[in-house]
Amino acid sequence: MSQAINGAGGVDGATNGAANARRQLMAIGVLAFLVFLVFPALLDPFRLGMVGKYLTYAFVALGLVLCWGHGGILSLGQGVFFGLGGYCMAMFLKLEASDPISTAIQSTPGIPDFMDWNQLTQLPLFWRPFRSLAFSLLAVPAVPCLLALIIGVAMFKRRVGGVYFAIITQAIAAILSILIIGRQGWTGGVNGITDLKTLHGWDLRTDHARRILYFVNALLLFGAIALGRWVLGTKLGRLLVAMRDKEERVRFSGYDVANVKVFVFVLAAALSAVGGAMFTLQVGFMSPSFVGIVPSIEMVVFAAVGGRESLVGAVYGTLLVNWSKTYFSEKFPQLWLVLMGALFIGVVKVFPRGLAGLYESHGRAWLAAVRERLGRLLSGEGRRITPGPPAPASVERPEP
């Protein structure tokens, strides 16, 4: 298990596997400490809600680490799956919010308000199953997975990949957002599905509810990280990396490359969908502005900043990018676009392995130096009390 993660973990991972695995676990531990203790303790409900929202994007980034970082498949249409998951959840919540009593002023009470505005007099057929929570929860991952399966089979079986695949997924994102906006009687159009209130009678809008949702979301996220680690640890994970680096050789060794790609693409779609559903629950609405080209490509940057091969890094990256986005758009609205653009360029040119890579190249050495200095300080104090042989560091210091 640890061996496989090393292989996936990076260039220098293969040499000392156990240490690498320990470092990864430590990074996860620190993240858990931050997400479960520090943020809820220090942040007010408003800022905590924002962190909760960022963490839903982290699901998408996790999916991208799997299919892009390890599988070499760059999808610029992850917003599609995020959106579909979110819409499945939103449809259920909207139906619950549109009971005949609270929609009594409409021409047709009992249907969502935007349908009434668009002269629909009854619920469209495909909306009806979403009255059931069980069906909706099933649909959240199932619908995006189905779409991903269709796209994946159509593309990968014909050996379409690389830039071409990226562009096609982007086109799909554009088309789906035009479709959603165009069919506003069914989807709420450009406004999206808004004003969601309760989940089985439980008011989602209170601070208390949001806090609970935050923790549910965080738990799911750590579940997703665990799932990702497990997948990468299996033979499939090794196949993925092998395929990314030398696809022909894997194919000639008798493996069906297309199936592996389809699987990881579908898995990434499912993760994004879960993120989308959690987004809807926490933010209280869903709109086509999460489906199109721009959000899809921003999500790629979250993964890239974190380090495209590191699962934990993806979460850190998502948090960092979104935090700085909020910070800069609050403080320097004019500069935000430039900084975001610079981040895109920097992440591919200057630190292509993202935060995880920066830690490997600089952070670890720095931490080691700090630890050593601390140790020397402590042992230095010890030396003053008990005379003995001088500290090795001073012995080994070369003469100038």
């Binding site: 080209i293 430039v338 895109f344």
Partner: protein, 307 residues
Amino acid sequence: MGGYSLGELKSILVMQGFNGLSLFCVLLLMALGLAIIFGQMGVINMAHGEFLTIGAYTTYVLSTASARYAPWFHTYYFFFAVAASFAIAAAIGYGVEIFLIRPLYRRPLDTLLATWGLSLIMQQAFRSTFGAKEVSATLPDWLMGSVKPTENIDIPINGMFVMGLTIVLTASIVLLLYRSRWGLSVRATTQNREMAGAVGIDTRKVDRLTFALGCGFAGVAGAAFTTIGSTGPTSGSLYIVDTFLVVVFGGAQSLIGTIASAFTIAQAQSTTEFFLTGSVAKVLTLSAVIIILMLRPQGLMALKVRR
């Protein structure tokens, strides 16, 4: 279509036919630059829309300048603007290739991200320079009128202008590719980079020129589009989706494929728009494109999908 005289229907047919052709030219003009770069270098330039915008703003600046300092020049400035747009966009493209694309040559997916970043920076640069609001270049009167061969037929001059420009550009790129020394090196580099380098072709120079040329074409398209569209910091992004669709649908690395796909999409869209309503037509066209791509992901006329 009852209740209309035969003459009316005939003239509508003529105008609608022209409309289809003019849409074809618009799509082709947008896609040419992208197709050259993608086809020859395998690089997707996500900032393509912003190079269009460079052309549009160049036209705007020249329009205001000529209106203020040289009114006599205003009738003809547009030709000059097209040339200037080409030069400026190509020069910027040349620089971008050196600083951004060249170091990433072996990582096409990363190029895609980097050029997206570039597009964000360029958008903000436009906004800081020209303001967030849309601007309007004053166009010479002869360009904004229409030709009337008969009483009922109006053929827009700006449509013909775009058409002429497209024909000139397409012809010149075909000539360049198949009749010039540079074209020979480009084709050699596309087929086998190492071998081309081995026989003494400076492949880096070929890449730089190709990228600059593609950006220059985008600039020309941008200048031409001031006659039919808006000029603002994000105007380029209005065209970008259609542009990508044309290139993808045509198939990678095939100029003929790009032309065929622009033609197919334009005719489909123009016809469905006429008989149905706008939104429905767009959705139908896009869905058809996607379904065809699902069945034939390599596009209309791919030579051979290279791995």
